[in-house]
């Protein structure tokens, strides 16, 4: 079943075309990675998928409903987006509770249900220990975990990740990638992950979509990815190597 479908969407910033007639479809409970060079339109595509940006042409549908016809709160109950969080004065718990916004009603306080869901999201992402600390006092890795917790607290079936492991050291990269994979498999959440890490994409995702200069270059199963695909995409030569577990990984040749 379709979770999200983008139909020939184009987005322009001023005169520049950020996304040029991209179509693709994510199925329920699928893990898709979007790769591509800097400025290829990965973030813009994610933002168009969850309605942060309205595409100039084309449409996005979630579970068969056009998102342009949905109320923002309704949409926020179906799909969410996580990015690098800015450092700010909110505590971790305060920030995660904010994700319950789609379920808040005017002049009603935070309910016990909201608090329980918030607590559970913190447990899954191991953020309970620093729930009282301010976001500005956390390391990038910890803040990324909070971002994931807040997305979970929103209780959507689809989560979009915008470069969740960029700027993280290998330890946190591994930890965050595993965490995303865990919520994907355990909670059955459809994940669309824009990333610069080709090997993470190959390791965790079912399918890889590549963008270059706003256009779709390829859309294939991650097991079928070849080094020649990457050569074309990034303009440098790649070689494929195999790990002990006979898993394919890619390295730059020279």
């Amino acid at each position: 079943m379709n979770a999200v479908r983008a139909e020939e969407i184009s987005v322009n910033y001023d005169d520049k075309t950020a996304i040029d007639s991209v179509s693709f479809c994510a199925y329920k409970n699928e893990y898709i990675s979007i790769i591509g060079p800097n400025g290829s339109g990965k973030s813009t595509l994610l933002k168009a998928l969850c309605g942060i940006i309205d595409p100039d042409i084309g449409s996005v549908t979630i579970k068969g409903k056009k998102i342009s016809g949905l109320k923002r709160k309704e949409l926020a109950g179906m799909i969410t987006y996580t990015c690098q969080l800015p450092p700010c004065d909110f505590t971790v718990e305060e920030f995660i509770l904010m994700s319950r916004y789609p379920y808040y009603r005017t002049f009603r306080g935070i309910t016990k249900i909201d608090q329980d869901i918030c607590r559970k999201s913190m447990q899954i992402t191991y953020t309970s220990d620093f729930s009282e600390r301010k976001l500005s006092d956390l390391s990038s890795g910890e803040r990324q975990r909070v971002a994931i917790a807040s997305a979970l607290a929103q209780e959507t079936e689809i989560i979009l990740f915008d470069e969740p492991v960029t700027h993280l050291d290998p330890h946190y990269d591994h930890e965050i990638s595993n965490l995303i994979s865990k919520i994907h498999s355990e909670k059955g959440i459809t994940v669309i992950n824009a990333t610069h890490s080709v090997n993470n994409a190959v390791k965790y995702s079912d399918r890889i979509i590549a963008l270059k200069s706003g256009s779709l270059v390829f859309d294939k199963k991650s097991a079928e990815l070849e080094s020649s695909d990457l050569d074309l995409l990034y303009g440098v030569e790649f070689v494929s190597v195999f790990t002990h577990g006979n898993n394919k990984r890619f390295l730059i040749k020279t």
């Binding site: 942060i52 926020a76 987006y81 990015c83 700010c88 909110f90 305060e94 904010m98 916004y101 002049f107």
Partner: protein
């Protein structure tokens, strides 16, 4: 949460105490032929109420703008809203004040029109650009503020001397309310607008985290910001028309409140409003006491205190 509620109750008590003190303390209770109760009721009480309304308004609007612009020094003054309102009133004083009784009621309308003008210009800049940067908006506000001050000075220079003096005196800010009559409409406006702003508390929390996060959490960014801008301008217009521009409370009060209550707008909004009212009452008291028996315009006091506060903020 419980701690915050306790703090809020304490703040409310503090406010009540200062409010009562500000009505009771002051020289010359044997003013003219009026008795003590008349002075308390006819002069001190309206004045204290004006201070409360103005303090709440500047503080709430400051808090709102700081979230919308994600900038700690955004306030109705840095963004030209109060400047626009000032221009409106200046315009009114020089050209329409001779229209008598009917003219009296028009001053808030002019102030509001000015505030709305400034907000619309800034808002236009936002809507034209798809990927708007709050810093661009702040710069636009600063430029607009210069433009408005220029226009105020121009009108002041061109108008007759009596009007020029009135404008000068008015731009210094004052809490001298002429009885309760001038307070009814602004109070109602401020109360309604405060309730509307409070209903946007969760939006304000998210908006301070940036457009992408707020939109993905379900905030209708365009609608919410537009409504918040509009409501803030109405409040500022209503208050500026009776008090003149009184700077800095809009920046100081939210920060002071945030240092005790945190940045969560659920508690920050009421805390900032009460803090603003308290600060305004204290500044008003200072303006009466510093050079007693001469009273100095309260705008001068808030500006001097504000400058010191800014230094602390910069550290």
């Amino acid at each position: 949460m419980k701690v915050i509620n306790a703090k809020l109750i304490f703040l409310a008590f503090l406010f009540s105490a200062i409010f009562i003190l500000s009505i009771l303390i002051g020289g010359d209770l044997s003013f003219g032929s009026k008795g003590i109760p008349e002075i308390l009721y006819m002069i001190r009480l309206p004045r204290a109420l004006t201070a409360v309304i103005a303090g709440c308004t500047y503080a709430l609007c400051g808090a709102v703008f700081q979230s919308l612009f994600r900038n700690p020094i955004a306030s109705p003054f840095t963004l030209g809203t109060a400047g626009g309102a000032s221009l409106g009133v200046t315009f009114y004083i020089s050209f329409f004040s001779s229209t008598g009784f009917l003219g009296l009621a028009l001053s808030p309308v002019f102030a509001f029109a000015g505030a709305l003008l400034s907000i619309s210009v800034i808002y236009m800049i936002v809507t034209i650009k798809k990927n708007f940067n709050p810093n661009t908006m702040i710069l636009a506000g600063v430029v607009l503020n210069f433009f408005f001050s220029g226009m105020v000075l121009f009108i002041q220079y061109m108008t007759n001397q009596a009007n020029a003096v009135r404008i000068t005196r008015w731009t210094m800010g004052s809490l001298d309310a002429s009885g309760f009559d001038s307070l009814y409409i602004p109070s109602v406006i401020v109360i309604i607008c405060s309730i509307i702003i409070y209903s946007y508390r969760d939006d304000l929390n998210l908006l301070s985290m940036g457009e992408d996060i707020s939109a993905s959490r379900g905030v209708d960014v365009k609608n919410s910001s537009r409504n918040l801008f509009l409501v803030s301008s109405i409040m500022i217009g209503a208050v500026v028309s009776i008090t003149g521009p009184i700077g800095f409370i809009g920046i100081i009060a939210p920060h002071l409140a945030a240092s005790f209550f945190g940045r969560n707008y659920r508690s920050l909004l009421p805390a900032a409003a009460i803090t603003g009212a308290i600060l305004m009452l204290i500044c008003d008291f200072a303006s009466r006491a510093v050079l007693w028996p001469v009273e100095i315009p309260v705008g001068i006091i808030t500006a001097i205190i504000g400058a010191f506060f800014f230094m602390r903020l910069l550290r």
